[in-house]
Symmetry: C2
Subunit: 295 residues, 2 copies
């Protein structure tokens, strides 16, 4: 929770190399996850990041599909940005064998896209138990099986897969993999050079094993996502807030993530109607300000 | 998830001793948690349970305050009902020492009420980290401390305390104790004659350690609450559904709860606007029907 008055805004266009205030991670690690500007095109998000000195962007596949992969690669390269992640692969569980095969094939396309963009990681949102059975144990087996099928393809193309445990509120619809512990146990079946973990504060902040599990994830962390948990909660999908507006102990969690050896990009990923309505030229400076002050 | 056609409705007023269909728990263990009829008074809920042959009721303290304790005791006794639980004690964390003392004192009144009603258990909804710090680790210590202060009073009056881990979606507002594992580790600091666990399917169904943790809770389970998790989720507080309308594997979980030695009342506890709008004379038969068919 943010304290005291509003921090001094950064100068727009601050250099990526600019160190932040004491204790801050520095702008050099900031990644703008484009879902934070869900109404903008990839071209608009890339241009805004470049103008505002944000060095990384995380790219969503539905935006990539709008833009076209070749054009997206050029846009990102010409803007001098790096891609922290492609969101998202996963969604492995399905009711039929044919549908599961089709999901794995779609994940191979996501690997291709991540490779083309030079992305640090392909984020896996693992998927939930399909109807009619809604058997969550079976869904977990389908996830493990799906990752096992994807790993050789990802390894050949040099793309790391990041299993992102999701908040238990999404267990019936988005991911049957809900805790860091569960994600770690799953990841440990595979080579850490290819399969790691993505720690998103929104999904994991509540866990009484959080700090022990971050320590156990040493060597496996391949992504770190920040936002905040607003109170009161209504719609859990859209309840994310700007860093500092909620209850998550962001700095303490970042410290634990770094103690576990992660020094890569930090993605700001916010699903929130008010954030989505904010013009990019106002949003990016606010993201930078809160990132430096609160993360 | 319920399959096939609607089960045959029970005869209204079926005897508590009536066995249910094969595999069902039997009406003799059914408890109507009065929040399932949030618009009804305690007198109305008691009368409906008696008329419909539901042997147990769970009583909420705000309803008790409306009715008065002495009258509530008479209503329940005259109707021949038993009280499965009083909801709720807990809410231990607070920003100041004085406020924490006041919370513990209020919990002593809840123990008195549970004792007067002959309730099987006082449910503890433990509480969340208070502003401004929102320090969840500190809140967890306040919970342990609060229970430690309450235990001697509860022991003297023969009231069992049931720690109810709540869904992580409520971690910032209702309970910093979120998983069965965490609740068990907390309960194990105390005598099992006084401190146990309440397993509510809505809060725990998603947990990959669910069945291992239910087994580890053997001898500590003092309550079992059922409802269902509806899909899609919007408002997590009001997302509970009638058993069979959602994704929870109720029968499998009940089996695990019974394997862990729990043979007590099974509370139907549903926060849901459509359920709350249903008249008691229609609601109770539906509760019985779904309880027998799905739990």
């Amino acid at each position: 929770m943010r304290r005291g008055g509003a921090p001094t805004p950064l100068t727009p266009g601050a250099s990526p190399g600019l160190p932040g205030p004491p204790g801050s991670p520095g702008i050099g690690r900031l990644s703008f996850n484009q879902i934070t500007a869900e109404r903008a095109s990839l071209a608009e998000a890339v241009e805004a990041c470049a103008r505002q000195g944000v060095p990384y962007i995380a790219v969503w596949r539905h935006k990539l599909a709008e833009t076209g992969l070749d054009r997206a690669v050029r846009l990102v390269r010409d803007a001098g940005l790096r891609v922290s992640s492609v969101c998202r692969g996963g969604m492995f569980p399905a009711a039929t064998h044919a549908e599961r095969e089709s999901r794995i094939e779609d994940n191979r396309r996501a690997v291709d896209e991540a490779a083309a963009l030079g992305a640090e990681v392909l984020v896996l949102v693992c998927g939930a138990a399909p109807p009619p059975d809604r058997d969550i144990a079976a869904a977990r087996r389908m996830v493990a099986d799906g990752i096992a099928h994807l790993v050789p393809y990802a390894t050949e193309r040099g793309v790391r897969l990041g299993i992102e445990p999701m908040h238990p509120a999404f267990a019936a619809e988005r991911s049957c993999i809900t805790t860091l512990r569960e994600a770690r146990c799953l990841a440990e079946r595979f080579d850490p050079a290819t399969v790691g973990l993505v720690a998103d504060v929104y999904h994991i902040w509540w866990d009484s094993d959080l700090y022990e599990e971050l320590a156990r994830a040493a060597g496996r962390l391949v992504g770190f996502h920040v936002s905040d948990w607003l109170v009161p909660v209504h719609d859990v999908l859209m309840n994310r807030g700007m860093m500092g507006d909620g209850v998550i102990e962001l700095r303490r969690i970042r410290g634990a993530v770094e103690s576990a050896g992660y020094a890569g990009p930090i993605e700001v990923e916010i699903f929130n109607e008010a954030v989505w309505r904010t013009p990019l030229d106002a949003l990016l400076p606010l993201v930078k300000e809160r990132y430096l002050a609160c993360v």
